[in-house]
């Protein structure tokens, strides 16, 4: 696995991919209208075992200088997906670039679900 590595006079600086993933996950969940990240089956099991995974739903590919991010997101009902996707891409890119110095070439956003706040009006017909 590749990871970010800087050579300085005093030694190397390495940034683990996991760190890039956590930064991306936090930046994405901070965006208004994002209900959460969607971690898939493995993530769900890890969560059940009580392990809070900050890079859930994030896939990173890191090269020497550049990074590409895939985000699996659940959004709130009512948001405009093109807008929110744009905001997510922008803020994830900015967060990673300022914190790690990597150049982010791609932020792919996968909307995995829509989250509804109020649980649906239950079949009112059943009572009739």
């Amino acid at each position: 696995m590749n990871e970010k590595k800087d050579r300085t006079e005093l030694g190397d600086i390495r940034i683990a991919n996991e760190v890039v993933g956590v930064i991306a996950g936090l930046a994405a969940t901070d965006v208004d209208g994002v209900a959460g990240m969607s971690g898939g089956i493995a993530g769900g099991i890890a969560e059940m075992l009580g392990r809070k995974n900050l890079s859930k739903g994030v896939k990173v590919e890191v090269g020497e200088e550049q990074a590409a991010i895939d985000l699996f997101v659940v959004v709130e009902y009512g948001v405009r997906i093109p807008d929110i996707a744009w905001t997510i891409q922008e803020s994830v890119k900015r967060a990673i670039e300022t914190m790690t110095g990597l150049e982010v070439v791609e932020v792919n956003v996968h909307i995995q679900g829509v989250h509804f706040h109020t649980e649906e009006r239950h079949d009112d017909t059943r009572v009739r």
Binding site: Y77, R80, A85, E106, V107, V109, I111, V114, T125
Partner: protein, 183 residues
Amino acid sequence: MARDKQLNPIDRVIFFAVGLVLVGAALTLAVSALGWQGSGSIVALVLWVQTRPIEAIVAAAVLLLGGLHSFYFASQTERDEGLRQETPMGHVQVSMRAVENLVTRSAREVEGINEVDAKVHQGPDGIALSLALVVQPDVQIPRVSDEVTALVQARIKETVGIDVGRVNVEVRNIAGTARQRRE
């Protein structure tokens, strides 16, 4: 959720059979563990299998098929290609399940519609939708279907940013009739 309801009859039968086999295996194991050697224990079962190899092989084949089907079912669920749009900074992909959820939710806002089952297909001109509805007995179906088509098209355009081409509406039932039959 809508997805869960779509177990087809074959899956249902197989899961039912798998359940029976598991319960049977559990009972056999428990009975044998308690020291029972007569009919119903593992010892008796093994002896019986040796006297009737053909039946045993058929049963094994059936179990194998059921098992393979369950494996397949478990592994194929989360394959959702979704709708993909390119942006300057990578692509944005919306899963079909999310779109179907949105459509179901929007369609239910139309007065006179009780239940909605939505399917999304990738068509030549944008996406195509199929809606299966259960409507109230007192509605005008042409009005409701026009209304739901317009609403869903507008909502998907607004939230997902994708043009909806055709919307096929199927009225599957009138609310109330199915329930009377069931009781």
